[in-house]
């Protein structure tokens, strides 16, 4: 009986073991079909992948240790027997399924990739680029361009306004002085280009310079009036004038006939400009090296450069002195010369040729208002034009004394000689250079000659030439036989 029970219990245990083996240790769904036995492999594959996943949150379950639980149904008698059957404990280790961990068992399976893919699961950093300024519908970003366009608009408006103002001033001056000029000249206002002479033409040289040509008068070939107005059309000049105020100017240049003026050079000018004039003007620089003393009646703002003092005294008479006192701020300079050739050219070191000279009278007047003048201010300049005609009549009648004339002639002769000397020196220097070049060329030809005989002959030739040059020149004279 006991043996039977033992055999029964053993069978039961075997059955239990088999059952647990076939059971689903991973709680996988086991289908009760013919393929149930194959489902163990699938379960084991999942177990392998779970093992290779390092980041798996849950710890890899080891293969369970199966320990048989004590039989509850077993009789106590059987329990005693079971105590004896502790040896029947079956422990299943996980070593049997190690081949699922072996990489070589599987083809095309990249363990690292799969781990990488699982590792790169954190959200990427998104960089949001700001929308470019020009794609925004925001005109405020173009503020510099708006500023530039505004500046150009302001410049253009200033150009139109300045141009118009200058035109008004020049026309006003011409209208005020037209009658006076018509009294003194047969022809007033010629542009010089049209075939038929048209009178009353005020030539516009630029937006701020106007010229008027008058001709047909006794003792002068013509008179050129240049209205040198301020550059009101240029905004840059307008802004510069805020720091350095300037005035509009009227420059009157009278071309005298040769016989009408005696030989003298003088300049009565404001002390601010006299230094500059003396440096720039060739005739003043040569003929008037020193400043002369002026009449006490003349305001101290004026200074005088004069070659012949009696001539300047004759010109600056009572009426001129009155005008100088009355229009002290308006008269810039009065330049009378028979040797006028314009300003000195800065580039030339020493001109060899004597420049062409003309006999002129130049008057420079400032328009009243110091840049803020109006057309009405042109009326105040009419007496100055009358002073010009007075000076013209005066100069026409001046005749120098013998001493003064001799002095003036001597000065002019000295000037002519200095120019001729300078030209002679230049010519001789040029000739010397040419001779040197020729000699060098001959020497080089001699040195380059290979044939010694020819070289010797050339040397003899050059020696003969030099000896001939050294000999004094003898003039041969022919004497006719009686």
């Amino acid at each position: 009986m006991k043996n039977a029970i033992l055999w029964l219990s053993l069978c039961y245990v075997c059955l239990m073991v088999c059952r647990t083996k076939s059971a689903n240790p991973h709680n996988a769904e086991i289908e009760d079909n013919d393929f149930a036995e194959f489902e163990d492999f699938e379960d084991d594959e999942h177990a392998d992948t779970a093992q290779t996943d390092k980041a798996a949150p849950s710890p890899k379950p080891d293969h369970p240790k199966i320990v048989m639980a004590p039989e509850a149904d077993i009789d106590p008698d059987q329990a005693d027997d079971e105590d004896e059957d502790d040896d029947g404990l079956v422990e299943i280790e996980g070593d049997e399924f190690d081949h699922f961990q072996d990489d070589e068992e599987f083809e095309g399976f990249d363990r690292e990739k799969s781990s990488k893919v699982k590792g790169q699961e954190k959200p990427p950093d998104l960089k949001i680029t700001p929308v470019p300024a020009y794609l925004q519908n925001n005109w405020e970003s173009f503020y510099l361009e708006m500023l530039m366009l505004a500046g150009l608009a302001v410049y253009f408006i200033n150009f139109l306004a300045g141009k118009s103002k200058n035109n008004t001033l020049s026309t006003a001056w011409f209208n005020v002085h037209r009658s006076l000029l018509d009294e003194h000249f047969a022809f007033v206002g010629d542009d010089g280009t049209s075939q038929e002479m048209q009178s009353g033409v005020l030539v516009k040289e630029s937006e701020n310079i106007y010229t008027l040509w008058c001709s047909g008068r006794v003792c002068c070939e013509g008179m050129l009036v240049t209205l040198k107005l301020l550059k009101r059309q240029d905004l840059v000049s307008t802004l510069a004038r805020m720091f350095r105020p300037a005035s509009d100017q009227v420059i009157i240049k009278v071309m005298l006939e040769s016989a009408e003026i005696d030989t003298f050079v003088m300049c009565l000018a404001n002390k601010k400009v006299i230094g500059k004039l003396q440096k720039e003007m060739v005739d003043l620089n040569y003929f008037c090296p020193e400043k002369r003393k002026l009449d006490d009646r003349i305001p101290p703002t004026f200074q005088l450069l004069s070659e012949i003092s009696e001539a300047s005294t004759a010109v600056i008479d009572t009426k001129v002195i009155t005008a100088l006192n009355q229009f002290e701020n308006l008269i810039e300079y009065i330049h009378i010369s028979d040797q006028y050739c314009g300003p000195r050219i800065q580039d030339e070191a020493q001109p060899s040729k004597m420049p062409e000279t003309t006999k002129i009278m130049m008057f420079c007047f400032n328009v009243p208002g110091k840049g803020q003048c109006s057309p009405k201010d042109m009326e105040a300049m009419k007496p100055l034009m009358m002073m010009v005609f007075h000076c013209l009549e005066k100069v026409r009648k001046i005749r120098l004394s013998r001493e003064a004339k001799t002095k003036a002639d001597k000065n002019r002769q000295r000037l002519a000689e200095s120019y001729s000397k300078a030209s002679h020196v230049q010519r001789s220097e040029a000739a010397q250079e040419r001779r040197e070049k020729k000699r060098r060329a001959e020497k080089e030809r001699m040195m380059a000659e290979d044939d010694p005989d020819r070289q010797r002959k050339l040397e003899e030739k050059t020696l003969k030439k030099e000896q001939k040059k050294k000999q004094p020149k003898v003039k041969m004279m022919k004497i006719k036989a009686m």
Partner: protein
């Protein structure tokens, strides 16, 4: 100062001389227009080649200043060509790079 009376009329219709303009060679009284013309061309070239917007705008300003200071005897074609060059420099610099101009600081 006395004005001449009718018996001593200074006018001489037979002594009329035509106005001859002085030859425009050598020195010029005011070279502003020439300098601005030159600067305008230089700025235009810099603006076109180096793609600098401020150069192109400076060229436009130089062209304007040159025009304002030019004499009537100056060649208008040259002035017009420098002006057109400066405007084309501005257009080209914005076509290549439509971004607004930025201050250097």
């Amino acid at each position: 100062m006395s004005t001449p009376n009718s018996s001593s009329d200074p006018r001489r219709p037979g002594k009329v001389h035509r106005y001859t303009r002085p030859s425009v060679g050598g020195l010029v009284d005011d070279p502003t227009a020439e300098y601005m013309n030159l600067f305008g061309m230089i700025f235009s070239m810099c603006g076109l080649m180096l793609k600098l917007k401020w150069c192109a705008w400076a060229a436009v300003y130089c062209a304007f200043i040159s025009f304002a200071n030019a004499r009537s005897s100056d060649d208008t074609k040259q002035m017009l060509s420098s002006f057109m060059l400066s405007v084309s420099a501005v257009f080209m610099s914005y076509l290549q790079n439509p971004q607004p101009m930025m201050l250097p600081w």
